[in-house]
């Protein structure tokens, strides 16, 4: 019989206790995601100057996109492109939308993993200047150019789709709000793998950060819920976000931290301020994870270093005070406990940065909120 030291015993006991605690806190998530996740959620955090490279690296640290994209799969990628460039500015440098290289890198990885079809789609009502392609280099969002390159190399597997134009039907998923059911466009509902590609930004209302989960509000049909989707807000946007996530079960979240937006986001016209992330931490970052809640929580921790007052429980941290993250955790959609999230790549504390809070929309749940 192998003997162990007292220190080893305590270490192992803590590990087992932590594992049990995490697994008990994840009743829904661990059973609904096809075993992709362990009770200890993993989130990759990578810093660098070459955007495609750091995106690829983040996916590699998670064990590769092949974990969630199987050969022959239909993939739907939702970039947060719904709002950006309204004033004729560059929506990438303003931090309103994820960097196109991040979106393209994810699409490329899907194709390389054997995806049969990759749809990069968004439901947008306004004539965005970016049109998923940019206006002859003027607006910087050259996603179309990058996608064309992928298609040239791997065959025409990736398409850019405005869901408003191409949705043929809606599939309903249940909602615990007054709406009861939520209409999901068929191209999303029929995908084998749904991926969120979001950007680091704060929101002027009604939720203070807008990352991977909130991004999915942008697939919702404006013909039913209005533009902006106020019918979803009226029903309780926090729960609606979670009901969408439960319905479409995203398997991967990637957050672009090349440029971001602080303060009164989500667009320049609301008063949001562009952030060049490299100017704060010496490089761009990409955050990725299979657990949407853990990934969003990590992004939250990354940009809330100076948000005061700091919550007393550091293990829960600011994510506990972001209502939809807390509710997601409570409903078993994923993890927010820092002790249950394993960060791969960079050290989160080393990269955590100052970021303006949305003044008009600081969470009342934050302790000592004025």
């Amino acid at each position: 019989m192998k003997s162990i030291t007292r220190r080893e015993f305590i270490k192992k006991s803590l590990g087992v206790a932590s594992g049990l605690a995490c697994s008990q806190l994840l009743p829904f998530y661990t059973t609904s995601q096809g075993g992709v996740l362990s009770p200890q959620s993993e989130v990759a955090l990578v810093k660098g100057s070459k955007i495609t490279q750091i995106t690829d690296k983040a996916l590699e640290l998670l064990g590769g996109i092949g974990k969630v994209v199987k050969p022959g799969a239909k993939v739907f990628i939702k970039p947060n492109y719904i709002a950006g460039g309204f004033m004729g500015h560059d929506p990438v440098r303003s931090g309103e939308i994820p960097h196109p290289e991040v979106v393209a890198a994810v699409a490329r990885q899907c194709v390389k993993a054997g995806a049969k079809q990759v749809i990069v789609g968004e439901w947008y009502e306004r004539p965005l200047k970016i049109e998923f392609g940019g206006e002859k280099n003027k607006h910087g969002a050259q996603i179309k150019k990058l996608i064309d390159k992928i298609n040239k190399k791997f065959g025409n597997k990736v398409s850019l789709v405005d869901l408003r134009k191409y949705t043929e039907s809606f599939m309903y998923v249940p909602s615990s709000t007054s709406l009861q059911w939520l209409a999901i466009p068929n191209l999303v509902a029929e995908a084998d793998t749904v991926i969120s590609v979001a950007v680091l930004k704060t929101h002027h209302r009604p939720i203070s950060v807008t990352f991977g989960m909130k991004n999915f509000v942008g697939i919702m049909p404006s013909i039913l819920y209005g533009e902006p989707r106020m019918k979803l807000h009226d029903a309780g946007i926090n729960q609606v976000i979670l009901d969408i996530v439960k319905g479409i079960k995203p398997k991967l979240t990637v957050i672009s931290g090349v440029y971001g937006m602080e303060g009164e986001g989500v667009v320049l016209s609301f008063g949001g301020k562009p952030v060049d992330v490299a100017s704060r931490i010496g490089g761009a970052v990409v955050i990725a994870g299979f657990d949407p809640v853990a990934t969003d929580s990590t992004a939250t921790r990354l940009i809330t270093k100076d948000w005061r007052p700091q919550p007393k429980d550091n293990n829960l941290g600011v994510p506990w005070y972001i209502k939809h993250l807390r509710m997601a955790y409570e409903q078993g959609l994923g993890q927010i406990h820092s002790s249950c999230i394993k960060i791969k790549g960079e050290n989160l504390e080393d990269l955590a940065m100052s970021w303006l809070m949305p003044k008009k929309n600081v969470y009342p749940e934050l302790p000592n909120y004025i």
Partner: protein, 195 residues
């Protein structure tokens, strides 16, 4: 006995006239999608032409109009309205009160975003649904749809403001919701300027 029969005959004639007038108002069944032109609308909205479409319009807040739509089969539906405006600053909110053939009653609202992204004087057609919470069960037969417009400062605060311009409606569409698969068809304006 004779009097009773006479009443039944009279009621049937009235019903036939109403149903026939609805079908003459262009009821198109297309994959469980039923379109109703607006030309038979009653009330104080003006009848006009816009983009070669027969429309009704109003520039007056709370001006009530009424249309009758024929529900071909009892079931769950989304009611869509095809509307147009050129407002750049404020948001029109449309309010609906619907009573089906058996007196089942629904009321809800929809709004349309201001066209801040379009050149002055330009508008666009769009479909919007007041019944997305999540759909309405309507009984077969004639349903009465009463509606009016109010102007709000934006789409989320809902403060009353003066009407910024006219609102135009050219048709209503009923789309059935398939409960078995929980599916409904999508719809878009074929001449949407954004396309």
């Amino acid at each position: 006995m004779f009097i009773l029969n006479y009443q039944i005959i009279f009621k049937n004639i009235v019903l036939i006239i109403i149903v026939a007038s609805c079908f003459s108002a262009d009821v198109k069944a297309q994959e469980m999608m039923y379109s109703f032109d607006i030309k038979d609308a009653q009330g104080s909205w003006e009848h006009a032409k816009l983009d070669a479409r027969d429309v009704i319009s109003t520039i007056k807040a709370k001006n009530i109009a009424t249309v009758y739509i024929y529900v071909p089969k009892s079931g769950n539906y989304q009611l869509m309205v095809s509307l147009y405006h050129r407002w750049r600053k404020y948001c029109p909110f449309l309010y609906f009160k619907v009573k089906d053939s058996r007196g089942r009653f629904f009321s809800d609202y929809i709004f349309s975003e201001n066209r801040f992204y379009m050149p002055a004087g330009k508008g666009r057609w769009e479909y919007r649904s007041p019944s997305a919470s999540p759909y309405w069960y309507l009984n077969e037969g004639l349903a009465k749809v009463k509606f009016w417009v109010e102007a709000k400062n934006n789409c989320w605060e809902g403060k009353d403001v003066p009407m910024e311009g006219k609102i135009f409606i050219d048709k209503f569409v009923l789309i059935s919701v398939d409960m078995k698969g929980m599916v409904q068809l999508s719809i878009k304006d074929e001449n949407d300027i954004l396309d």
